[in-house]
Amino acid sequence: MDAAHGSSVVTSIANFVFPNDFHVHWSMMIVLYPYITGLVDGAFIIAALYYLFDVKSLKPVARFSLLFALAFLFCATLPLLLHLGRPERNLNMLLTPSPSSAMAGFGYIYAVSMGVLIFIVLFVYRPDLVELRATSKGRLQMLYRVMTFDSVDLSEDAMALDRKIIRFLVGIGIPIAVVLHGYVGFIFGGVKANPTWSTPLMPVIFLFSACVSGISAVILAYIVIRKIKGRSIDHGCIKTCVNTLILFFILAFTFEMLEVFSHSYLKSGYHHMVEGLLNGPLANSFWLWQVKICSVIPLLTLGVMGLIKINKSLYNFLAAVVSAILLLQVLIMRWNVVIGGQLMSKSARGYTQFHPEWFDKEGILAVMAVMALPFIILFVMGKIFPFWHKESQTNVKET
């Protein structure tokens, strides 16, 4: 832009914020929304690797990751409803979706992905559900009857059909998951008025970091739950998960850095605003937390885990720690993109500030409640759908 030409690049920023730009409209709930759908996507990838691509070693976590994805998908709309100015009108999204808007597809994409995921879970769990139906009573039995389509047929023929259906559903589930999350990235990438958002890399970055967060979450949850229950941990499974995580994290981190690099190398558009943002208001949360602490450290650790032979218990411990850090990395990355991006005024001359509230409907307490809910749902679902395979309890002990 003309205003930023020549040597006056830095000095031309005199901290002017457009009068309507002081308020950050998309706050923590919009940070949470892509975070939650990202967890769904990543967990689904693990399940897809097992059910569609026959990565056998992932068997111990395959079912769990499906349930994990479902629990979070149930809560994906919650932050959006809390964010909307008029939440009671949310069905307008389904009734009159504007064909030109990237956001309008949300209701339909969400509904389809929810349907597909529910049916995948039902078919995957059918043998267990049939068994549980026989041993349960009253209302719970009624529930199991509905969930097994009131059929107890576990013949080889029926099971073969189930496997086909699962493969088909997971097969269409992958593009749906990619669309569900890629489109979230595109919602940001499609805002040309915001120089940090408007890049075609945005959906790609969102997708890969989604996979990172989801896989990390599954690894961490698997290790923690198994430890708490005093059960053994399948090392082969963790290793496959970590290797997948390495792949996705390298991709995610590369693209995240590529975006920053292209801004400063191309010096196009309002790059001085983006640079000023990353080196100014976001200096800590971006360079220190997102890049140095939460990306470089895990990257080095994952490198060690991938290349050097270390004993199993240390490996598992490191896997859990790296997963926790990466979960934080993705959350911080979402924060830096969503809230960070809005700190730049469209005046291209100044930055506003964001102060999180505690008791607001989009405040810190609400964030904690929204993040706790999927775990409560997961706990309840665990009562209906057993997380782990029975045989895995005995199998794993020997390895």
Partner: protein, 178 residues
């Protein structure tokens, strides 16, 4: 029930299709009236936007009932100034053709503040060809008046040069071109 597993699944599939079709039907039924006439929006919203009540009238609406002010205002250098900017909106004063409220009249220092919104030279962005500006209190000093004077003690607010020109006429300064 003696249905085979495949049959049951078929029923499930059919119910999904039926439910989706039902959903689309409901979507059609719940579509707001006049939606999509000109594009993917409610055409009636245009009419609603056109029916929003207006609050500002024009100078003509004010001067209809204030002939005395009209006479002065229309002749003076301030003829382009909107009555409602200094006095308040028409809607706060008149409802259904009847007086419904009293508009506050600016007094003393308020007047000077109001005048300097436009006529302050210190704000170096006001070109002489657009507006005559003065610096305070230099202007008061140059005119040899008290520094506590308000603008309206010399300038009629509706026709700022009314008294000045009159005074110049009387003293013969006008003819002398001063």
């Amino acid at each position: 029930m003696g249905l085979t597993y495949r049959r049951r699944l078929l029923i499930v599939l059919i119910s999904i299709v039926v439910l989706s079709a039902g959903g689309l039907l409901i979507k059609r039924l719940l579509l707001p009236k006049s939606f999509g006439v000109y594009g993917p929006y409610r055409a009636d919203a245009i009419a609603e936007a056109a029916l929003v009540p207006i609050r500002h009238g024009t100078n003509a609406s004010c001067l209809k009932c204030h002939p005395y002010e009209a006479k002065i205002h229309k002749k003076g250098r301030h003829q382009a100034i909107s009555c409602e900017f200094c006095h308040g909106t028409f809607a706060d004063h008149v409802t259904d053709g009847k007086k419904s409220g009293t508009l506050p009249v600016k007094k003393e220092k308020e007047i000077t503040t109001l005048c300097l919104r436009c006529h302050n030279t210190e704000i170096k962005a006001r070109h002489e060809e657009v507006i005559k500006t003065v610096a305070m209190p230099d202007h008061l000093k140059n005119q040899n008046v008290k520094l506590t004077n308000n603008c309206n003690q010399c300038h009629h607010v509706h026709a700022p040069l009314k008294y000045i020109n009159r005074a110049k006429q009387i003293t013969g300064m006008m003819e002398a071109g001063l």
